[in-house]
Symmetry: C2
Subunit: 337 residues, 2 copies
């Protein structure tokens, strides 16, 4: 049973929960302060809507001891990350909450606080939702709606042979952060300072979707998606969706200073970094002729993008290790089943 239930200060019921959540709708009149049973959204003119639902559950997508602020942030961020990779701008979201036991007021206030921070960062509002008590883990199911100029969404299916493969930021921090959160002693084994260990854990707990990369993607990318289930697995999905093959150079995958320290000590960890989940970085296929401009536009919003591979007409994905030899994997990423 999660810690939020070990407290007598439990909310009195659905009405109180809704009252605590309602301020999150301020700025979206079509939410009716959660007093209606549906939400209204007037779509921006000349836009396509981009839609995503990606629920997170305790014990699966976040740890049981996680702070409510972080759970809330992550629940919204994982969906924003998908939209970011399409070049879309978030508008609003619906949220279905399911609790195994009524939460405390303190837990709920922390959760609302985390959502408010995330909303402000991502520029969107709560529009409506549902709350339920049911057995099983605490689950936060967000459906996010964003907009993109009509016909301009950057798809997963449209990568072409010859495109260069880019990733944003750094890969693998979250996989290490999750390992550290579960087993803090690893920090010493890996020779990490406390700030380094905290940095990696925060990359797991507090993903920062690459919304600012939108203009660069819209202008220059042939295809894009976010990296959430592991770089190798997600690149494989882009290739399959686009009917292409490709090559990934593991030695070129950008790592943070902390992650480089871990790999320097345990080189075999590289596999874990490129097959771990929760990166929430962007994977983009960019025509070679646009690569310089893509880099420059990304750089203008202080996002580093790194070329890590290339698309090819032949089927299949080859991952080349730092030694130039093909890498083989027991698993290429997070398995949903």
């Amino acid at each position: 049973m999660p810690t939020y239930a070990n407290n007598s200060e439990v909310i009195s019921g659905e009405e109180e929960l809704i009252a605590l959540l309602a301020p999150l709708t301020e700025g979206h009149p079509g939410a009716f302060g959660l007093r209606d049973d549906c939400a209204l959204l007037t779509p921006p003119p000349g836009a396509d809507l981009v839609l995503k639902t990606d629920p997170i559950a305790e014990g699966v997508h976040f740890l049981p001891e996680e702070a409510p602020e972080d759970i809330a942030w992550k629940a919204l961020a994982v969906n924003v990350s998908d939209l970011a990779a399409k070049g879309a701008t978030p508008l609003g979201y619906l949220m279905a909450l399911s609790f195994p036991a009524p939460p405390t007021r303190t837990w709920t206030e922390g959760f609302v606080h985390g959502l408010r921070n995330a909303q402000q960062r991502f520029g969107c509002h709560l529009m409506g939702g549902d709350t339920d008590r049911r057995p099983g883990p605490l689950t936060v199911s967000i459906t996010l709606i964003g907009s993109v100029p009509k016909g301009r969404a950057v798809l997963r299916t449209t990568a072409r042979a010859g495109d260069l493969l880019f990733v944003s930021g750094a890969i693998g921090d979250a996989a290490l952060g999750l390992a550290l959160a579960k087993e803090p002693a690893l920090a010493a084994a890996w020779g990490l300072s406390q700030p380094e260990a905290e940095f990696l854990i925060s990359r797991y707990r507090h993903p920062e979707p690459r919304l600012a990369l939108g203009p660069a993607l819209l202008q220059h990318a042939a295809a894009a998606m976010d990296i959430s289930d592991g770089l190798v697995k997600d690149f494989g999905r882009m290739l399959q969706a686009s009917g292409m093959g490709g090559r990934l150079r593991a030695g070129d995958v950008p790592l943070s200073a902390a992650a480089r320290k871990v790999v320097a000590r345990e080189p075999e960890r590289l596999e874990q970094l490129i097959t771990g989940g929760d990166d929430y970085e962007v994977l983009a296929a960019v025509p070679a002729s646009r690569a310089a401009e893509f880099r420059a536009t990304a750089g203008s919003v202080a996002i580093c993008v790194t070329e890590v591979g290339r698309l090819a007409p032949d089927a299949g994905l080859l991952v080349e290790g730092p030694d130039g030899q093909p890498m083989r994997f027991d698993r290429t990423g997070w398995e949903h089943f």
Copy 2:
């Protein structure tokens, strides 16, 4: 563990599940056959979008032995019911599936079959979603998007003093159906024929949202909502959202022939019928001057609407029993917590 897991013919993983679900997207090009990670929707011009998410979970919203066809139907129908009461037309939906164990191929095919039937009836398509394995009950979380002429959605918050209160169809069948599904011997105790018992159970398992009532609501209703948590509770919500009071005449609440038979034998069951959930009928506040036209427009699409009460300026909800005396309730409807 649900029966669908007691079978060796289990799907091989997420890829197979997605392949089985993908045909449900036919007719919605923005679903990309589930090969992309987001869905696109080009909003119809001049429309507001109406949004709803209402997840259903095994053991909470449906019984563990339920057929996959019925689970699928209900998962979509409960959301369509909300939109129907707003006068909206469904466009498409996102669906997040969470399984405690991988389902069998047969179960999944039945589920897809049920969704296909529901889609055809309700005129919408699967646009995207997510699948996960996690502990806890099988959960189907649908977020439905529909459209309504701009500025015309029928809200819950806009009922006015003097409006007449109408309900569509008949109330309480599903509450009796659920009781019968759990305890088949009740049919004999209530003097029901087998077809009568089956009718009541099908009203629980296979709700038919009142989509056809849309034009009557858009033209004549001041406020409306669907009845899903019990007539008394949901009427109370409309009153609270509208800042009104009102009176409900329990003796005027329309009952099916089978439900009338039960109430004739056990008059105290009436309370269960008007506080049970899962009706998926429409509750509408209609100005007295429009009542005749509302009835006629509803009648033109073969939906019977019955006047059961009236809105008043004073706060509070009075439920008048068939004997003219105020009724008191231990619970007014389904409690989410």
